[in-house]
Amino acid sequence: MKKDHAQLSADFNANEPRVNWHDETLWWIRQKRDKAANTLPEWEELREAASAVKYHTLSNLSEYLQQFEANAHRNGITVHWAADAAEHNHIVCTILKEQGIKRIVKSKSMLTEECHLNPYLAENGIEVIDTDLGERIVQLADEPPSHIVLPCIHKKKEEIGELFHEHLGTAKGEADPQVLTAAARLHLRETFLTRRGALTGVNFAIAETGEFVVCTNEGNADMGAHLADVHIACMGIEKLIPLRQHLGIYLRLLTRSATGQPQTTYSSHFRSPRPGQQMHIVLVDNGRSTQLGREEFRNSLKCIRCGACMNTCPVYRRSGGHSYHTAIAGPIGAILAPNLDMKQYADLPFASTLCGSCSNVCPVKIDIHDQLYKWRQVLMKDGQGGAMKTASMKVMNFTLSSPGVYRTAGKAGRWFLRNVPFVVNNPLNPWYKQRDMPEAPQQSFGEWYKQNRKQ
């Protein structure tokens, strides 16, 4: 059986100094986000506006999608529709094969991670080089990204040095970030110049103009798209916004939330192919319509993939992105993944204390922690809790629904704790493993009250 979030987190926590390092690194980014947010007195109004525009868009999604398709078509872009991951992968592969392209560059796209495009193309004889530095690093390590904005945040610079030594021929033991980045740049530059196909993600697609915007800090999307004969942009259907003027709201929020920068270094608008170039957009559903139909979870589609909920999540910081065993980790991943597969991701909505910090940092005001709670209800009603958990919950309900049973059980429990503590003070009790049990008092509050106050 595959390990669940709790087991994967326990593995991650076997190395406590590493957990501390991971936690501190992400907390530092969270603090940068706070600083950036506080430079804008209108921050909370911006979040409200961003949320409202997305709500409106999602409520009228089919119309905006058709408007976008028509305008993109007018701009000379070929628009494809993919119902699911398989169709998306097939479309991309077919475009490349028709052009005889066997090697492509790809800038960051979480959608292609979600669809497992890289292995699919590899099976079909097409090599993909990820050009986002973080993604390139995890690609060399043959790992999935652990964070949607910072794909290799789980790796220390020494480990990256080791990888580069092995794959790019840097000196053994070289761990200076500047030297390593220079080596990666050299290696990628050669790649950019020789690839005829470029794939990018999409941060925002504008219905009004039929254009799309790709945000990167490294300029790698532009470099790929500008040099290639064929540019394929893959986007989830929820990436749409109605008007170009709405972009200002999101561009101000996105990177401040993500890394604490005022803007991404590059916010590139793609509107039409240059002469001789082909430009394709693949609009992907892959469960999004289903989620749109789940009223309680619809808001999750507002997500602009800033990763702020991951950086702030005290669980994510101490369990690492891979513990979520899905392309999009953290709190947002935990409310998106069960929509795709309830059985496989039944553990994720429970990987939270429901502290609510995620909802507070979310730039589009997704009620993430409330949705985690709601997913728990849906999953348990669907039978994903198993017979044992359901049975123990029924016992708990029986005890707590009857004051007499509750009082007797409480008294007995405290008696056992005082007189035969080894019943609970043993390794079978997960509380006791690293924590002492509370002391059991002689009297409950109820018993004290009966003795000390007139009834």
Binding site: S9, E44, T353, N397, Q434, G446
Partner: protein
Amino acid sequence: MRVGLFIPCYVDQFYPNAGIATLQLLEKLGVEVVYPANQTCCGQPMANSGYEHLTEGCNRLFVDQFGDFDYIVSPSGSCVLHVKDHLHLHDREAEATVVRSKVWEITAFLTDVLKVEKLPGRFPHKVGLHQSCHGQRGLKLASMSELVAPKFSKPLQLLNMVEGLELIPLKREDECCGFGGTFCVTEEAVSVKMGKDRVEDHLEHGAEYITGTDMSCLMHMEGILRRKNSNVKVMHIAEILNAGS
């Protein structure tokens, strides 16, 4: 004003002193307080585990026990939040709605309803305030570090009235302690790590006591403190507000 005292199940069983302090504090402030004897639990342990559909028995009991009071007051932000957000009864929804609207966490009740401006207490110790998430972010007992908004804190406002109390600063003012209900056992590794980190922040800043509005967070941190043989104690905020008078 008649107040029904709602003492959460685990406080009743393990931390009666927090309940006694809440009662005495309210009595001292001239409030008529009654503890309905047949109360048990708000149902949150089941609901947070995904079994809200099994909480009808708890909900019915709660409405029966507390329906008649002007206010329902409790020394737990988390349990109060659960009642506020999730207490429903399909056949008595009007009554449930009233109950949801009149349940109060103790510190908010003191600052917002009783509008307490001074307290007679004395507690000459270094105290760290743990912001329990459900009270802070759920009931909005205090401003939150994520939001761009004016700063305030109801628990702090009250602690500042206690003579001799020295509040210690924290590196992370409102990070979760990792208790999280059943999370503390189902996700044991992360829960404990979160608890250790939170406790460390208080220890590094010289706390003699860690206090807060939820005994559950404090129970979790107490378990960690005692395992490392620390002398630092946890104490519910009502016990501090009620101390030395």
